[in-house]
């Protein structure tokens, strides 16, 4: 791995963006953590979003790398980030919220990783979530520090759920030319929206090491995003807005799906199905609505990512499909018929299977497909085009078969989220009290899938509960703590040592864990 000189003014410039709004109390500590980085080549933009004055606080650092952007008007986090980006010069961009903090090696780890890779322009680490009690004078009493998200990058998962914390992220600044700026129309999940858009253009490399912390006060949370999420309807609207976002093409990393839906009439059932498609589909897609002229006026023009494909009245299903196929832009196409079951993962399961099928010779059926001549399927667009060019007959199934494309549902192993489905199985085993079997499954998952550190920790916990397997649990736990210890794993190993009648070594580990809680010692340092 490339070694970055962190003490001299060498290496690429990193722009650290620190938006702040009325958190003067915590901002000082956040900025101390930036100034204290071992990697010294950075510029940090503190954007005061119309909150209480912080100029004196920033000036007190007397560090030319800290730049204050002081706005009178409160325009939100996205606007703050965009304003800072307008002035950023760094090759890379990193983020810090005003109440969070980096550990000293944070920037160095990320720069070192990204400079060593040509194929990956973004990386992220793990962070501690600090459970704390806010005392009446505003100070935070730390109750615990846990790594509650440590997931390896998974593009399908990221489209569904944000598993990359923004404060943990660093990426090339030039990616903004492709993603566009932060969406100032969003009130929540601004971070997820951007990370999702980044994933259209690059993989994100996970460094499973804790390099900072964010705070989670027990009870009522003062985070703006937390308060915003209480309005469930508004929250759902914002999620749909994020899912509907399609940055400009080309997308080198993201599969684009074209959903072709050709109802005879746009009645209540068809309109309901269109709404269901919008609500349940989380992978980037466009809906190609194939309609005769008389029906077009009934289509809802406000729905995003909808392309109306006009066809002559009385056009056959085959003619409607072929009309849509002339227009679709996606790498993959889903052919949907009225009555198909639109539910969780309805199109993502067959899309995942198609995206991982090296042969390109399978059209994966959507669950609830009526079958017959017009099965509901997902397949590569070029495959379907070739099949229809060879045989433009009235049966989709026959065209596909003539082109050597088999029609079948995805197998269990081909469906989306294989890791998460195994995880669910293991958790069900735990609920049933079958700890030994759960431990076995976690171990297998750690060896065969990504997320090995997380799965190894789960293995230890399950072994501990299984009973009689302390030796095995101790060996796995010790291995974790040699490389990537956390408060939780240190506590686990200490408990195992205590049970093995070794209180002396247990005390050493507990004191190490206590030092991390107190902020006296951080892992990897």
């Amino acid at each position: 791995m490339l070694t970055i000189d962190t003490t001299e003014k060498r290496g690429p410039l990193v722009s650290v963006l620190v938006p702040t709004f009325n958190r003067r109390r915590y901002l000082r500590e956040a900025l101390e953590s930036v100034v204290g980085q071992t990697y010294r080549q950075f510029e940090a933009f503190v954007v005061n979003d119309g909150g209480e004055p912080v100029a004196d606080l920033v000036a007190a650092f007397n560090d030319p790398r800290l730049v204050l952007i002081d706005r009178r008007e409160n325009r939100g986090k996205a606007a703050s980030l965009n304003e800072a980006l307008g002035r950023a010069q760094g090759k890379y961009v990193a983020y810090l919220d005003d109440d969070d903090r980096y550990y000293p090696e944070h920037l160095a780890r990320l720069v070192e990783t990204l400079e060593g890779r040509d194929d990956c322009h973004a990386a992220y680490t793990d962070l501690y979530k600090v459970h704390c009690r806010v005392l009446p004078d505003g100070t935070r009493q730390v109750l615990g520090k846990v790594v509650n998200i440590s997931r390896d990058f998974d593009r399908f998962l990221l489209c569904h759920f944000n598993h990359v914390l923004h404060v943990a992220l660093m990426h090339r600044r030039d990616l903004f030319e492709k993603t566009g700026p932060y969406n100032e129309g969003l009130r929540v999940m601004i971070d997820w929206d951007m990370t999702r858009r980044l994933s259209f253009f690059t993989d994100l490399l996970h460094i499973p090491q804790v390099t900072g912390e964010f705070f989670g006060p027990v009870g009522e949370c003062d985070r703006i995003s937390y308060r915003m999420r209480k309005n469930k309807l508004d929250y759902a609207r914002q999620v749909l807005m994020i899912r509907a976002t399609r940055p400009a093409k080309p997308w080198p990393k993201m599969p684009d799906l074209s959903i072709v839906f050709a109802p005879d009439v746009l009645d209540a059932a068809a309109a309901g199905m269109i709404r269901q498609i919008g609500a349940w589909t989380f992978m980037p897609c466009q809906l190609y609505l194939v309609l005769p002229p008389a029906e077009i006026a009934r289509a809802d023009p406000t729905l995003p990512n909808q392309v109306i494909v006009p066809v002559t009245p009385g056009a056959t299903p085959a003619a409607r499909l072929d009309a849509a196929l002339r227009r679709v832009e996606g790498d993959y196409v889903a052919v949907v018929s009225p009555g198909a079951r639109v539910e969780t993962l309805w199109v993502e399961d067959p899309l995942y299977a198609a995206a991982h099928d090296a042969t390109g010779k399978v059209a994966f059926e959507i669950a609830g497909s009526a079958g017959g001549d017009w099965p509901a399927v997902v397949l590569r667009t070029d495959g379907l085009r070739r099949a229809r060019a060879r045989d433009s007959g009235p049966s989709l199934r026959l065209s596909l078969e003539a082109a050597g494309i088999a029609v079948r549902p995805p197998s269990e192993a081909e469906r989306a989220f294989p890791f998460d489905r195994l995880l669910q199985n293991a958790e069900e085993m735990e609920s049933d009290g079958d700890w030994a079997q759960a431990a076995w499954l976690y171990k297998q998952m750690g060896e065969r899938f990504n997320n090995s550190r997380w799965m190894h920790e789960r293995t230890v916990r399950a072994l501990l509960k299984a009973g009689g397997r302390d030796g095995e649990a101790l060996a796995v736990c010790r291995e974790i703590n040699l490389t990537t210890p956390t408060v939780s794993t240190l506590l686990l190993e200490a408990r195992l040592l205590k049970r093995a009648n070794q209180p002396g070594p247990a005390v050493a580990l507990l004191e190490e864990a206590d030092a991390i809680l107190e902020g006296r010692g951080e892992p990897w340092n």
Binding site: L143, G468, L491, P503, L510, A513
Partner: protein, 211 residues
């Protein structure tokens, strides 16, 4: 996230500081660093004022230093916080035992085992109290129940074999000792007891033959 017995979701890590202090207290107790242990338990009890663990810990420290009244008060505080706390009842049993009040100790150990049949301190305490009182029926039952769940526990196997031998259930005693010696072939006490049991059996056989 974990589920509590009441079905509530509990976010992991909220009790970490408490857990660390409580574990440190236990380890320092085991190392006979009693002042440090007491300090850890006191800090832990400030963090979680509704939990009995630190008071049990303080009770154990007091017990180890011979402060029986203080120990009794600490275990009592733990029971007031959580009447289902088996460790606190076991602690009271140990206090009673040190005061040579075996009947009361027996009752407290029984209360601990009623709340948790796996409490080894109470089980072994009950065994010792039974030996003093000469009543074995109840303790035999609890030892058997415990061994169903922890079949490899050598110390409990030995206690049970001893009780079987005292009760003249010599076949059961021998079988229990056979299992124990497979698990722990170097166990000299078990080997000696087995020899004693076999001699007893031989004596009974030869007396029967003589008749």
């Amino acid at each position: 996230m974990e589920l509590t017995p009441d079905g509530f979701l509990v976010e992991e890590g909220l009790d970490q500081r408490y857990d660390i202090l409580k574990e440190l207290g236990d380890c320092h107790t085991a190392l006979a660093h009693y002042d440090r242990a007491r300090q850890c338990y006191e800090e832990a009890s400030l963090l979680a004022q509704d939990r009995p663990g630190p008071h049990v810990g303080c009770g154990v420290v007091a017990l180890q230093t011979g402060a029986l009244d203080e120990a009794e008060r600490a275990f009592g505080r733990a029971i007031r916080l959580d009447g289902r706390c088996p460790e606190a009842y076991a602690g009271l049993g140990m206090v009673d035992q040190q005061r040579q009040d075996f009947a009361r100790a027996f009752d407290h150990y029984m209360m601990a085992l009623d709340r948790d049949v796996n409490n080894l301190v109470a089980l072994l305490g009950l065994f010792q109290a039974s030996i003093q009182m000469g009543t074995f029926a109840k303790v035999t039952h609890y030892l058997e129940v415990y061994l169903e769940r922890h079949p490899g526990d050598v110390s409990v196997l030995f206690c049970l074999a001893t009780l079987y031998a005292r009760d003249n259930r010599l076949d059961l005693a021998r079988k229990t000792l056979d299992v124990l010696l497979v698990l722990d072939p170097a166990n000299a006490e078990a080997a000696a007891l087995l020899k004693e049991v076999e001699q007893k059996q031989q004596k009974i056989t030869s007396e029967a033959n003589a008749r």
